[in-house]
């Protein structure tokens, strides 16, 4: 993959092919993130379009203090947030303010004894590798569905951290949330996906253990 500084230089020089590459690479990820903020695909596409226009406008003065990727995602997050807020005017939704602290614990309390021990052993999932899970349509789609069902905030964090591979500082920067909040959201998101995977793998595994 091309070095970012080279790409930025090409973009600033007006290299259209470079811009096409950039759009090709990031439009999908942008859409994915935009959908965590707004309710519909058409609106998400508009937000992404606005983001690209913002990127084009800001490129001449982009100083490279953050990475290009982080900078672009931040533009997107800001556009998407204000759009999301406007959309939900009837039901006020404050993006950063509500803390996760009061939400239910990531693993259901009833999976533990009162002494705090696991009631049943979590399975090893030894037959299912991540590759197999992603390559099998049924399980892959179930994972994507589980992610889609996460709360917007959890979905945004896990999308940026685990799917897009950004580090925690970048994610806090992009979403305007505290480190603590980000860690809790990531944990809860991963826990929710784990629970979903648990259910998926139970369904697709053969029922009896043949001795």
């Amino acid at each position: 993959m091309e070095e970012e500084s080279t790409l930025v230089a090409r973009l600033r020089a007006g290299d259209e092919a470079a811009f096409e590459e950039l759009v090709g690479r990031y439009n999908g990820p942008f859409l994915r993130l935009a959908l965590t903020f707004v309710s519909s695909r058409p609106v998400a596409e508009e937000v992404v379009q606005e983001t690209w226009l913002g990127v084009i406008k800001g490129l001449p003065t982009f100083e490279g203090r953050s990475s290009l990727k982080t900078w672009m995602f931040r533009i997107l997050a800001n556009r998407a947030k204000s759009r999301g807020v406007r959309e939900r005017r009837k039901v006020p939704l404050s993006w950063p303010a509500a803390e996760e602290g009061l939400a239910a614990p990531p693993v259901d309390a009833d999976q533990f004894t009162t002494a705090g021990r696991w009631r049943r052993a979590p399975e090893a999932w030894s037959d299912s590798t991540p590759e197999k899970i992603l390559e099998t349509r049924e399980t892959r789609e179930a994972v994507l569905a589980a992610i889609a069902e996460l709360s917007a905030r959890r979905r945004a964090v896990v999308t940026l951290r685990d799917i897009e591979g950004l580090d925690s500082n970048e994610v806090c920067n992009i979403l305007g949330i505290s480190e603590t909040n980000q860690r809790v959201l990531l944990h809860r998101a991963r826990s929710d996906v784990r629970s979903a995977l648990q259910a998926i793998l139970k369904r697709s595994e053969p029922s009896a253990h043949v001795p």
Binding site: G14, G28, Q49
Partner: protein, 90 residues
């Protein structure tokens, strides 16, 4: 004593290396003695690997539903060219 429930709460902090030495050691001691928590952590690790594999999987396996915007829409092409033109004229 660290319970399994406590460990489950801290699993991500542990996997991300965000625990202090003290807490990390407590987790390790518990893991040494608790196969169930080892299994649980294994699940969390696998979950993260599945999540990390999604962008590649999505690119390959799912038919392009217009997400990649190829070819470049006219509006973006025009905007990109316009900016460069302005810079050239300066």
């Amino acid at each position: 004593m660290l319970t399994c429930r406590d460990l489950a709460e801290r699993a991500t902090d542990y996997l991300e290396g965000d625990l202090s030495l003290w807490h990390r050691l407590r987790v390790r001691v518990h893991l040494n003695m608790c196969a169930r928590c080892r299994a649980y952590l294994g699940q969390m690790r696998k979950t993260v690997r599945v999540l990390r594999g999604i962008s590649c999987a999505a690119a390959g396996a799912v038919p392009d539903d217009g997400a990649s915007l190829a070819p470049l829409p006219d509006e973006l092409r025009r905007a990109f060219r316009a900016t460069h033109r302005i810079l050239e004229d300066e």
